[in-house]
Amino acid sequence: MKIDWSEPGLPLSVTAHAVLLVASLVGLSSARPFADAEETLPVEIITADQFSSMTKGERTAKAVQPTPKPRIDKVAEVEQLKPSQGTDQKDVPTPPARAPQISDEVSAPPMPPPRPPDPVKPEPKPEPQKTVEPQKPEPPKLDAEIPKPPEKPQPQKVAKTQEPQKETEKPKPQPPQFDKIAQLLEQKKLEEETKPAKPPAKEKGEQSFSASAIEKLLVSKEKPQASGSVGAQLQKTASLGLQTGNAAKLSPSMRDALAGLLKDQVGKCFTLPPGMDETNIHQAMVRVVFNEDGSLAERPQVASASSDAGVRAIASELRGAIIRCAPYRIPAQFLPFFDQWKDTLFTPPESLG
């Protein structure tokens, strides 16, 4: 091929293009490929407030209570210990520590030594037997055992051995109120801490490991220590949430799912006779009010104000279909959002095809 240098255009152009091509192939080959498209996840952003109001109440409760209250398992014990005589408790001298010389007969359940001094405890007279008197009257079930003659040997049962003490307690010269108050207080403490019977050999203050004690604990059918939440009034029924909380709205995906469920169910009944005038079909909407169980709360209404006969005709058919297919199955997961689907609008297809 002869190159005509007076007209270098074509060969120059070809050369230049070739050079450019080669240069770009070489120079750009090291470019990094794009990262693969990652699978996207639907994400919804809520504030901490929304989260806490979403999670109010108890998940396992059955329904939203009209007036949600916190759960209360046990009525608080009424404080009976009002000093009826207006006694200033401070005046009462603190009792001495428990007398360690507890006779075997008595073998009172040992008291843990570092007890805060009970201000209401009356000062016991120096009568060893008497000091032991704060064997409080046992709880009613044990009181029943009092009539038993004290001579009966009952060394194993600690509780029973306390009974003779009760007899001796009776002719107490001490003022009755203090006596009673002291007894009640002691009884309370006893209950709380010494419920499980401990072997008499146990000295007070000793916290040695005792297998038999633990075994007795395990088989004990007495009430567990934990008393549960305490309050003024029993409230056994927990609330599923708040009646008027600011719960988060139905997420878009849940909204679509619910709309799809309703669409399928109504679709089964939605038949149209051929020949309907579909000019303004988009106006033929029907408003529905649901009950929580998916039934219709009231007769559905045509939602559009159009007086077009074709719109009215199609809306009538849609309304009839909604009525025929009621009640509707609404899965339980949508129940907490009842407020957001209670009022639903059904629209016809865009064209009858």
């Binding site: 909204r255 309703l262 669409k263 939602a303 005709a313 407020d339 009022d343």
Partner: protein, 432 residues
């Protein structure tokens, strides 16, 4: 035949659909994406009335509604409640039990001169009345009352206008094929009340109704072979020849205002479109080509004319202004297009399309788009529109012509009963 009807539209009860204000802020919107088509199951028990009058009226209503393809009347033998008074609320449960979605109750009463009729249409699903009407008419017009009731029911359910209270003029053909006697005949759209308008001495074709008067225009061949457009007054029987044209005139139609007749005039081997004013008898030529332009039809607003022409080769459809001028071709499919008819609603043009081995009746939009063939077979021809623009009658020649009815969706195709063979049907406007 004079018909006097007074209709007292008393709303016998509440309308079924109280209109709530604009879409009051529903939280959730459910959009249906399709509907299943199924004729509406409707129960039409005998109307109350003397003798079997109520039963006859109910039968005409049921027949009308069934032929429309929109309704599926439930067999009377399945009814749990046999007799329902129009004055009480029906026991909807016994109608739901037979899967009725609509129920008609009513009464017909006749005294010496007049007939009174009333009906209620109930929506069984919601238990509400959908519509109700009262009618008073001549005592021997019980069929018309049935058609009026059927129209009211049809309109309420579909939102479209009714068409049952109308008549059809056609060419009745009797006798052997070589010697067919053709007479103009008039009947109710369901085939009842047949009446002959001509004697059969002349060959008659393509009758058409006037939209405003009791007149029919048609073409007849005189015994001497002259063919001309005629006018016939149905009530008086009076006939006349339209215009005094030097050549053969054919394919006549009225203008929407009833004042003019448009037709085709053949001259020297080609044919052009002319109009004639019926009062002044003035004629106007609209096309001027060497082709055969024929079968003109006005648009319902009277501003345009669609016609058939072979100016481009094969017969095709063209649209031009009602006063003539340039014509635009609108048909482009395979085959020959003929007999175009503009629907009374203006949204469709029906036509006959002929291909190598079949004839089809079809519709297209006035700009030529959306062409659909509704029925195909050997020798379907000559569509005519029902007053509501949703149904067509045409004739089908299967060894003898018979008239059939179809709808624009192509779902309906039913025979129209005629005593003998029949062709060239033309549908009247609504009678009331």
């Amino acid at each position: 035949m004079t018909l006097s009807i007074s209709r007292r539209s008393v709303a016998l009860g509440l309308a079924a659909t109280p209109l709530v204000g604009a879409t009051a802020r529903a939280e959730l919107v459910v959009s249906l994406d399709r509907a299943n088509f199924q004729p509406l199951p409707i129960a039409i028990p005998d109307l109350q009335g003397e003798g079997d009058l109520g039963a006859r009226v109910a039968a005409v209503i049921a027949n009308d509604l069934q032929r429309s393809g929109v309704f599926a009347p439930i067999d009377k033998r399945a009814f749990i409640d046999k007799a329902v008074s129009p004055d009480v609320m029906p026991q909807f449960d016994s109608w739901r039990a037979i899967n009725a979605q609509a129920l008609v109750t009513g009464r017909v009463q006749r005294d010496s001169a007049r007939m009174h009729a009333e009906f209620r249409l109930w929506d069984v699903s919601s238990g509400e009345q959908a519509t109700g009407q009262q009618y008073t008419t001549d005592a021997n017009n019980w069929r018309r009352v049935a058609h009026l009731i059927a129209d009211a029911i049809y309109s309420r359910i579909t939102g479209a206008g009714g068409f049952f209270d109308s008549r059809v003029v056609y060419v009745d053909e009797t006798g052997p094929k070589q010697a067919r006697r053709k007479r103009l005949a008039l009947m109710d759209q369901d085939g009842a009340n047949v009446r002959y308008l001509t004697e059969g001495n002349e060959l008659v074709v393509t009758p058409r109704f006037s939209p405003t008067s009791q007149e029919v225009t048609y073409m007849a061949f005189a015994p001497n072979g002259d063919a001309s457009v005629r006018l016939l007054n149905i009530e008086t029987g009076q006939r006349e020849i339209v215009g005094n044209f030097p050549g053969m005139t054919f394919s006549p139609r009225f203008s929407p205002d009833g004042e003019r007749v448009v037709m085709s005039l053949e001259q020297s081997g080609n044919a052009n479109i002319y109009t004639m004013d019926l009062r002044s008898r003035a004629t106007t030529r609209l096309t001027d080509t060497s082709a055969i332009d024929t079968s003109p039809s006005y648009s319902p607003d009277g501003t345009q004319i669609v016609f058939e022409s072979d100016r481009g080769g094969a017969q095709q459809l063209y649209v031009m202004g009602a006063n003539g001028g340039p014509a635009k071709r609108i048909s482009f499919g395979q085959g020959h297009y003929s007999t175009p008819v503009w629907s009374p609603k203006g949204d469709y043009i029906a036509f006959t399309r002929q291909t190598a081995n079949s004839f089809g009746i079809g519709v297209m939009k006035p700009d030529g788009s959306g062409e659909r063939i509704l029925t195909e077979g050997f020798h379907n021809e000559g569509p005519t529109w029902a007053p509501n623009g949703r149904y067509l009658m045409f004739f089908r020649d299967q060894g003898g012509a018979k008239i059939f009815m179809a709808d624009v969706t192509g779902r309906v195709d039913v025979a129209v009963p005629t005593p003998s063979f029949g062709s060239d049907p033309a549908w009247s406007p609504l009678l009331a």
